[in-house]
């Protein structure tokens, strides 16, 4: 028994050392990979799509259960005297700016409350130029551009793209197609698709030679902007323009991580992940905003529809084809939202 006892005596410390060693090696490998990414960026080498074994391994992980467990952990109440220490440690680790928090740190009962904090009045002045779109979130611009030609693709990263219709939903108001020659100008007129109305958006990407040169209407293109929010960023979503939100689509999907390494290695990241799409119209025509969740930040709440539930345990393993869709005020003008107004927030878990 003694031998076995002494064997057991070394088991726990041995396992602990081995785990710490493994975590240390993983962390060092992570630092090395990040250093490589930084070096490439400094040399102006644009990251390219390079799927690896880890990415395919991701599909096997119970990401949704991990995400929901993380959410429960983040909602645990922290004793008041410990709150400033915990939130300062979080701010140091994720480069958050504590000065902007609207409330004293003691007022945030949990890390979740701190994560979805409001900012002090005036922390984010809204550009009032009527001809500009403003950023709806704090973050880093990953991709911007104009969508051209058939397929209407957006780059996930150099070497891999996805289609707008798979991001927004195949029954989006945005019909991307190349117009035939005989379509007249009025077919291009975009009037919002509202049940009962006799009109619909047809936003063509017909090549300029096909569009009627004599028409007085300004030609319109479709543009996109992809913004990545780091864990330490302010995570409320504001309105980029004055617009009417006409419909909401919720795709339950998966919860792959969304960090820069994931963008470069996981195929179809944005069109497989859980996301909420708000679609409507602004003074220049169609506009849509897709809020896409990740493993650690898997929940999206809408201030215009508080009852919506995301990151549910029952979400189908295989991303459901048909998203859950809702028309706001069918037949009406939808929900009118001003530029800079809060429309949603990301939550952890």
């Amino acid at each position: 028994g003694g031998g076995a006892g002494s064997g057991n005596k070394f088991l726990v410390p041995g396992a602990t050392v081995a785990t710490m060693l493994m975590l240390g090696i993983l962390h060092a490998r992570r630092l090395y990979d990040d250093k490589k990414v930084e070096d490439r960026k400094e040399k102006g080498i644009e990251p390219e799509f390079s799927p690896d074994v880890k990415a395919s391994f991701m599909k096997l992980l119970p990401l949704r259960s991990m995400s929901r467990f993380w959410g429960h952990l983040m909602e645990m109440q922290i004793p008041v005297f410990l709150r400033p220490t915990v939130y300062k440690a979080w701010a140091r680790a994720f480069h958050s700016d504590l000065e902007e928090a609207a409330l004293p740190l003691e007022n945030y009962a949990s890390l979740q409350e701190f994560f979805v904090r409001k900012l002090k009045e005036g922390s984010r002045p809204i550009d009032t130029d009527p001809n500009c779109l403003v950023s709806p979130v704090d973050g880093k611009i990953l991709q911007i551009g104009e969508i051209r030609g058939p397929g209407a693709l957006i780059d996930q990263v150099k070497g891999f793209s996805y289609s707008v219709s798979s991001l927004l939903g195949t029954n989006s108001n945005l019909h991307i197609n190349d117009l035939e020659e005989e379509k007249s100008e009025e077919d291009l007129s975009g009037v919002v698709d509202v049940p009962g109305a006799k009109s619909w958006w047809c936003v063509s990407l017909a090549s300029p030679k096909r569009q009627n040169p004599m028409s007085m209407r300004p030609k319109r293109g479709i543009f996109y902007c992809v913004i990545y929010l780091k864990p330490g960023d302010y995570h409320r979503v504001h309105s980029p323009v004055d617009w009417n939100i006409l419909r909401r689509r919720h795709f339950s999907g998966r919860l792959f991580p969304q960090n820069e390494r994931a963008v470069q290695t996981i195929r179809n990241l944005y069109i497989e992940n859980e996301r909420v799409v708000l679609e409507g119209e602004w003074k220049e025509g169609f506009i849509a905003l897709a809020a896409i969740g990740a493993t650690n930040i898997g929940s999206i709440r809408l201030f215009i529809e508080p009852e919506i539930q995301t990151n549910k345990p029952t979400a189908k393993l295989v991303p459901s084809e048909r998203p859950d869709e809702r028309m706001y005020e069918p037949g009406g003008t939808g929900v009118v939202v001003k530029k800079g107004e809060e429309v949603a927030a990301f939550y952890m878990g």
Partner: protein
């Protein structure tokens, strides 16, 4: 997490021999942005 904006806006075109410049982004890939800052005009 990630936010993707997709929107319609006027494109640059020639009219009566004049170039009318329309929507242009005021940010580039890799830029840090904050809520409320212009990303295009």
């Amino acid at each position: 997490s990630t936010v993707v904006l997709v929107f319609q806006a006027p494109v640059s075109e020639m009219r009566n021999g004049q170039a009318i410049s329309n929507f242009e982004f005021s940010v580039r890939n890799g830029d840090k942005v904050k809520v409320g800052e212009a990303i295009g005009r």
